[in-house]
Subunit: 170 residues, 2 copies
DNA sequence: CCGCGCGTTCAGAAATGTTTGATCAATCGC
DNA sequence: GCGATTGATCAAACATTTCTGAACGCGCGG
C-alpha cells in the first residue's frame, strides 16, 4: 500500500513485494556460488535500490543483524561487487553495487577460484614427490599417469579462466 | 567370493598416506563446487584405485556409512563422474571414475548450472511482469534498466557455457 | 520357498556454516 | 576532552546440511 518512496527516513523498513523477489533471486544466485544468504540479500537490495544504502539501511530493511551486514559488505567489497558511493560528505559510508558482469565474474575468479587452483597445484606438487618414492613399478606407473592427468586438468583450468573473463567482457 | 587380489593391507581398510592425500585433494575440489565431502572422498578413492571398487570397499576403506556411500555414488553417477565397470559377472557392481575433463565439466554444467540458469530465467520473467505494472515513472525506468541488465547476464551465461565445454574438450 | 548378499531409503544424530548481539575501537562535532 | 555515532569483531545461539544406521525390498542360489 503506502510506502516511503524516498529520502525522509532512509530506513523506511520492510521490503516491497518486488524488492523481496529481487532479493530472493540474488539469494538463490549467491547460494549457487557457495556464498551465504545474507550476502545475496545485501547485494540484491543494493542492486534494486536507486540510491546507495548505508549499513544501517541494510539492517533495517532486511531485518538482519549489524554483524551480518558488516561481514556481508566486507565479502562483497572483497569480490569487487560493491563499492563505496562517492560524494556524500556524511560520516557514514554508502554503498552501491557493481553491475558490470565482467567485474563480477573477474572478482569471483580472483577471490574464489584462483586461490583454490593455486593451492591445488601446491598439493599436487607434493603428491608428485610421494609418487617418485613409490617402489612397486606397476603401481608407480599408474599413479604417475593419474597424477599427470590432474596436472593437465589444472593447466586447462588456468588457461580457461582468462578466456572466460574475456567472454564476459562484452 | 573374490576378494581383491594381492592387495596386501589395502583390501582390508584404511588408506595409505598417498591415497589419503589424493582423497583430501578431491574433498577440497568438490567443496568448491558445493558438493558434500563424501562425494569428494568417493571420487578421490576411485580415482586413485587401479581397479574398480564396490560400495562395500568404499565403506570399509573410507570409513563412511553405507548410506553415504550409496548417496554419494548416486550423485556421482548423476554427474557422469563415475560409471559402472563393465565385465564382472559378479552380482555386486563395481565403479570406476570418469577421468576425461570434458565429461566432468559437461556433467557439472548440465546438472548444476543449467537448472539454475533456467529457473532464474523464469523468475526474471515474472519480475518483468511486476515491473510493467509499476506506476511511478522514474522508478519504472530504473527497474526496467536493472532488470534488463540481469536478463543480459543470463543470456551471456547461456552463450558462454557451450564455449566453456568446447574449451575443455581438449 | 527360504535365507543371504547387495544396495536404497529415511528419520534422527552429528557436523558444519551462518547469524546474532554484546562489546570494543575509531572518529566526529561540540 | 566527552558523548554520540558508525562500523568491526567474535563467542555463542541457531539453522542447515550431511552422515549414520537400522529397516526394507529385491533377486539369486540352494
Amino acid at each position: 500500500m503506502s510506502r516511503q518512496p524516498e529520502d525522509g527516513l532512509r530506513g523506511a523498513n520492510e521490503l516491497g513485494a518486488l524488492e523481496r523477489q529481487v532479493v530472493d533471486f540474488f539469494v538463490d544466485g549467491v547460494r549457487v556460488l557457495g556464498l551465504p544468504r545474507s550476502v545475496g540479500e545485501i547485494y540484491g537490495l543494493l542492486f534494486i535500490s536507486p540510491e546507495p544504502l548505508a549499513l544501517d539501511d541494510l539492517v533495517l530493511r532486511l531485518g538482519i543483524s549489524k554483524g551480518s551486514a558488516s561481514q556481508g559488505l566486507r565479502a562483497l567489497k572483497g569480490l569487487g561487487a560493491v563499492r563505496e558511493a562517492a560524494g556524500s560528505e556524511e560520516r557514514r559510508t554508502y554503498y552501491e553495487p557493481a553491475v558490470e558482469l565482467k567485474r563480477l565474474v573477474g572478482g569471483f575468479i580472483r577471490e574464489q577460484i584462483r586461490p583454490h587452483l593455486d593451492s591445488g597445484k601446491v598439493k599436487i606438487g607434493r603428491l608428485g614427490d610421494a609418487v617418485r618414492v613409490e617402489e612397486d613399478s606397476d603401481r608407480k606407473q599408474f599413479l604417475t599417469e593419474r597424477l599427470g592427468r590432474i596436472e593437465h586438468w589444472m593447466r586447462s583450468g588456468g588457461r580457461v579462466l582468462p578466456v572466460l573473463q574475456k567472454l564476459f567482457g562484452e
